[in-house]
Amino acid sequence: MIEPLPTARVWAWALVCFFVAASGLRAASEWQVPESPLRYKLELAGKPTHPSAGYFARLPDGGILPGSTVTTVVMTEDGKVIPGWLLWQNADTGFSMVFADPGSPVRAVYVYVLSGRVAQLWKPESGLTPSAILCASPGHDSLPAAQALAKLGRVEPSVHSTNHAGIPKAPFSIGGDLTGRPRPGSFYFLTYLETAEAGSYWFAPMIIDGQCEIFLDGTKLNPKERSKKWGGTGTSVDLTKGLHRVEVFQTAGGTGSYSDNKKSGGLMFLTWRPPDEDPDHIKGAGSRNGAESRVINRSEIVRSGECKLTAVESRNGAPVAVATATPDLCYWFENEDPLILYNLSALTAGQPDDATYTWTFPKEGELAGADVQWLFPGLRENTVRLTVKSAKGTSTCVVPFFGFSTRKTNLEKADQREAFRKVLAAMLEAYPHSPDPVANWSSAWWNNILRTVEGGEGYPLLLQLFTGHLDAARKKLSPGQLFALQDVLLDQTQRQNPGEALHWIQKFQPDASSASRRNELKLREGEIQMYDFNDRKMAEKTFADLAGPGESSERAKVRLGDLAFLEGDLNKATGFYADVQRRARARRNAAPSLAGSLVADQLVQGGPAQPAQPDWRSSPPAAQNPLKTGGGPEQKHGALQEVSLSENVRTLIADNFLLEARQALLAWEIEFPLSKISGDYILRESAFHMKMGDWKRARPMLEAYCRQIDASGFLPAAASMLIACVEGAKETPSPALIATLGKVKDRLKYHPVAADLDRFLSAAGKPSN
């Protein structure tokens, strides 16, 4: 397996060492190897189990290294040369190497890169015993491919290595490709085992899948069945006390994930029985009938130390682009493409002070900053390019990686929903206008927007989506999905900038293919005129224009009632509300129940995210259905339903289901509009707006309620909420408001809320009597 060490290479390496030593000891801040254009600084993070195991390091390239080969010189900060050897290298991902343990006082080393030299590959004769290094070559299912990895040196870009012995249950094992790449694959596992004493060792490899060859100190093991017991197929080898090299060549055929094999999971693990252990008393035997061997303990496996890359510097002070892509949250549902949030970090240590960092995503734009986030499709190869610029030059590197994350993600957590929205908003801002990458989004992108969008949240995302990518949204979303997202944007725009909301309504008009949608937008326009611009005449005209059959007309009548309520005409308001409620009562028995599932679920399934609506065409006119006015089962039923609606809205708001609460409020309003006067509708509606931080929208109806309702069980709560609205909006109370609250206080002077009213009125400048 291992090539003999060429004499020329030994001499070349000796010359390099001599030159470096002759250059004298220099301080760490100085460039210790003058002919090296670039150096990595490594922090020694984890000590090796044995001094000879040295340290294993993986160092990035991606375009920053000169030439196609890598030769390195490892030095401590005080100038001591440390022997080091290359393991695998390619110009895309970088190289891995092993170097000797510099001793306990040393906490960091420099790895200088030399160009134009022959790479010094690790050999067993080098004296170092790197272990346990698993090298994987995805895409190949053959022993020759695995054996090629043992030759070290240049490899394909997809080849990757890591210091990983196994898992706690099988400390010496190959489970599969740890980067998440699917089958097929070939593996080379370079390890050393420590034997506590000389003697005959029984080795019993357990091959679960694929082909496997194991070499012990360069000699192939040929297992034969000795008994039917667990571990009974193996071979005995006489070993001396000390470290022994074990090399495993493993293949994995087929396709798909390595974790698809439910019965086992994994490719192979190695078991043994040391000479001093009795087969009848082997610890951890895997069978009730006794065993011939046991799994190799973690303490018996030699492991090299770990390093952490802390800086990359160039000799001339020019910037060097080095980046890491760390997987984070994973948004993966059903048969959709997984979308993985990656944290992209540029290595800033050692870079010029004026360095700027730009990330380029193929065909998807650019982001600036040393640390950014981006969503990548999972289970496929991805790349990102980092460019670092300063007055001293420009450096670029390409980071290739396979989209894979083991981070558990739960959309029950608000921060994990917000993370998706936030990153996607930044991506949309970075996207080029033409060609629009959104046009090529799979359903996973759209569905995750629908799943994570919330009432009162996601404004930056929806603003970006509808500003620059409206055409793509129109093509990819169903009308129900499009309208739902438009409504969420309008809700928030109305709160922040009502004028802009009117502009958006005009922009959304062409999408309103049905009369009901057009009326909804018209209603919203009237609400903005009523609540935000206080233009009640215009609002009245807008609502009055929505006459005719259908829900929009009924809702317009409710809004006319609201207008009358705001203007202080309680009788007129009651007239509108009673008219609507009478017809609703006639229809009630035919009305379907309220939707019980999440708005997001309805949208993802392509259903309408609208409140359940009765068939208005078949609803009998109110005049033909005189309603009973006396108390009876119908009234009891209505009262129960009203309480149920109120309680439903309350719990939905408390649990942050704001889109669902909005639906429930709309359904409640059209069924029992009189609840605005005689019930707690206004309290619930205000709580909904306050939960979204929309104090301005919650206040007018509360103020009207406190002004016009002389006495009710809900008045104290309405007064408290009105105070909260004024304080939340940080507004100066108007004289009219002070007068209203003063009268409420007079009516509730013996109620606990009077103390709050006193405090508020005193602060507002009105004497509290």
Partner: protein, 94 residues
Amino acid sequence: MKIALANKVICSALAATFCTGTLLAGDGTGEAGFVPPPRELKKPPAPPRVASSAETVLACCCCPVTPMSRTEAKKPPQPPVLITKIKEEGASTK
């Protein structure tokens, strides 16, 4: 005293009469149209296995390669848990 004793005797005699009648007439299992009750109540079918969407592709705790997990979906709103005490009208409050 005598009346109480007489009531007891009468009740016992009536009960014995009814039981004797039942024993002599049989329990009716042999009559036409009698459908015997099932000996063992048939258990309802097991509910379908509820698999969380966050379960990994492989339900194997010893898998050496950690698989990528599906995302846990947001759950729909749940009704509040109601706890109430039902008191029968006229029942003792002790």
